[in-house]
């Protein structure tokens, strides 16, 4: 019986390995799917908790909408992003599936890219969903909806970028505990770094120079949410902050990981020239 089945049907995807080697992009599909299966409950939980909290606090008006937005979207979001960053590398390494994953014919860069893509999408999705919930809850009340929506979009952008930093930091973690410790440490540094960015508003020219360091912080646009939007300022500095963030923490990973993936796949294809 075994012989028969073996001599039947040729491969369903072409004759030889060289003829239809998948483009690395196509590998993202299954990788994203498995990541979703692993983290879906975490993501759903975060989305529900954040949305309900924001909607409730906006509705109840015990604190101002601004305070609610800052607290839940930005600070809560900061914590939640940390929470989501523990799993992708740490738990896979801990339960041994990481080895199995690496042994597949997929470039390491593609695997990391898929995890990054999933995480960023999740964070952005959760924050935007919560913002929407808050906005809906605030209808009919005297609530600065414009501020809320803008704040939410910026928070999604900022936290997505912050996720990139956390994921990079946990790349070498061997289990969830190490990943959690790494997230905690990097988060503390992140807060200090953020405060340096906020030096911008002290007015002191010397401190302003220090604040330049803060421009690279993924969440630097948050400083505007807390200060400038109030006064209607936008300014060059805000645009610069967002551009730098986007380049470093959004476009950067895509370009670098994509390039590494493509390079892995092409060096593998080279020997097919000879028969």
């Amino acid at each position: 019986m075994s012989d028969q089945t073996l001599h039947q049907s040729k491969g369903s995807r072409g004759e030889g390995p060289s003829s239809r080697a998948p483009h690395w992009l196509r590998l993202l599909g299954p990788l994203l799917r498995s990541q979703w299966q692993q983290q879906r409950w975490q993501v759903v939980l975060c989305a529900v908790v954040m949305s309900v909290l924001l909607a409730a606090t906006v509705r109840a008006q015990l604190i101002s909408t601004r305070e609610a937005g800052t607290l839940i979207l930005w600070i809560g979001g900061f914590v939640l992003t940390g929470f989501l960053a523990i799993g992708p590398i740490g738990s896979e390494r801990a339960n041994g599936t990481w080895q199995h994953l690496r042994a597949l014919p997929a470039p390491g860069a593609t695997i990391v890219l898929a995890k990054w893509l999933f995480g960023v999408r999740s964070v952005v999705g959760i924050v935007l969903l919560a913002t929407l919930a808050g906005w809906l809850a605030g209808r009919g009340l005297f609530v600065p909806t414009q501020w809320l929506l803008l704040s939410g979009v910026l928070a999604a952008f900022a936290l997505g970028g912050w996720y990139t930093v956390l994921l990079l930091a946990t790349l070498r973690s061997r289990n969830e505990y190490e990943a959690a410790m790494m997230v905690l440490s990097v988060s503390i540094i992140g807060v200090i770094w953020f405060l340096v960015a906020a030096m911008r508003y002290s007015g002191d020219p010397l401190l302003n120079i220090c604040a330049l360091v803060g421009v690279a912080h993924p969440m630097a646009c948050g400083t505007y949410v807390f200060h400038i939007l109030d006064r209607g300022e936008t300014g060059v500095f805000m645009v610069a902050t967002i551009a730098v963030s986007a380049a470093l923490w959004w476009i950067g990973p895509i370009v670098v990981l994509g390039w590494l993936s493509r390079r892995s796949m092409t060096t593998s294809r080279m020997p097919e020239a000879r028969s």
Binding site: A103, L104, T267
Partner: protein, 307 residues
């Protein structure tokens, strides 16, 4: 690659983990279509070698060519063409058998869905059960299925029967031989259970402390490595006997395990007072002689390493 090239060729492979030297100038060649057994104690370097072959670990010296491809630079291509079964098979246990087969299949250009289904049926794997509830034997079979379904030319198995009961082990070997040998697929597998792999392999490589002590066809190994009992003449020393693996004193007689009986016979005859008693050895005993054989007696130093 052409037909004459070996499926795997390792030249002077050297690898260290930090300061610890794990592989020391390892060289071996696996002929196409053969079943090659890689045996050694735990920690001898079997898994490390396999990981180097697949590009999962970097190595510091030497060259590894798998199916003609360079393991250092073209490891992705190697992994596409090689079926690999790792020592510990931890897969996503939330996926069902069917789901994981489909999922893994998307990574391989030559994946054959109908072969995968046929193997699944043949191995009696329940398609709707989650991977997490499978028994150890079933998990091993699933791992084998995943390694075979893309029709690789070479299959590398790292201690595939670890943790299986004896019946499951034989079943597994049966599957491997039945599926692969008939089709001329090269099989490279590592194990520390020698008496188990002997019926299965054409070639044996004994690995110890990162070095290949012996590489030989299985039957040739059995035919040439023998245990010889003799009573030494007065003043005779065993120093002139080539290829001694183990020497033991038993009352007034001496028991010697030699690597090549034909080559050693004349010298042994000269040492002996009253002839030679030759006995066969099983593969376990041969392995022991190579790996922990005592060569210190009668002028034979511990550094006499057989080539």
């Amino acid at each position: 690659m052409n037909q004459d090239e070996p499926a795997i060729r390792i030249d002077d492979l050297t690898k260290s983990y930090g300061r610890k030297r794990v592989l020391e100038r390892l060289s071996l060649s696996v002929p196409r279509g053969s079943i090659f057994g890689f045996v050694g104690l735990n920690g001898a370097g079997k898994t490390t070698t396999i990981r180097c072959l697949l590009g999962l670990d970097r190595y510091q010296g030497g060259e590894c060519r798998v199916l003609g491809l360079d393991a250092a630079r073209q490891s992705l291509a190697i992994r596409q063409r090689v079926g690999y079964m790792a020592e510990s098979q931890k897969m996503y246990d939330f996926m069902t058998v069917k789901q994981i087969i489909h999922w893994v299949g998307r990574f391989y250009p030559t994946w054959d869905d109908s072969l995968a289904s046929a193997l699944c049926e043949q191995m009696q794997l329940p398609p709707t059960d989650k991977v997490g509830v499978l028994s150890k034997g079933q998990t091993s079979k699933l791992a084998l299925l995943l390694a075979l379904a893309h029709r690789p030319e070479l299959v590398i198995l790292d201690d595939p029967t670890l943790g299986l009961d004896p019946i499951a082990r034989r079943d597994f070997m049966r599957d491997v031989i039945g599926q692969l040998q008939s089709r001329g697929v090269t099989v490279f597998f590592s194990s520390h259970l020698l008496y188990e792999i002997e019926p299965v392999v054409d070639w044996v490589c004994i690995l110890h402390e990162g070095k290949a002590l012996k590489i030989s066809r299985t039957d040739a190994l059995r035919e040439s490595v023998k245990s010889v009992m003799l009573r030494p003449r007065d003043g005779a020393s065993l120093a002139g006997v080539p290829g001694i693996l183990d020497v033991q004193q038993v009352d007034r007689r001496v028991s010697v395990v030699v690597e090549d009986l034909k080559a050693a016979r004349p010298a042994l005859d000269r040492c002996s007072a009253d002839g030679l008693e030759v006995a066969d050895l099983n593969l376990d005993e041969i392995f022991e002689a190579y790996v922990i054989g005592r060569r210190e007696l009668a002028g034979v130093g511990p550094d006499v390493a057989p080539e």
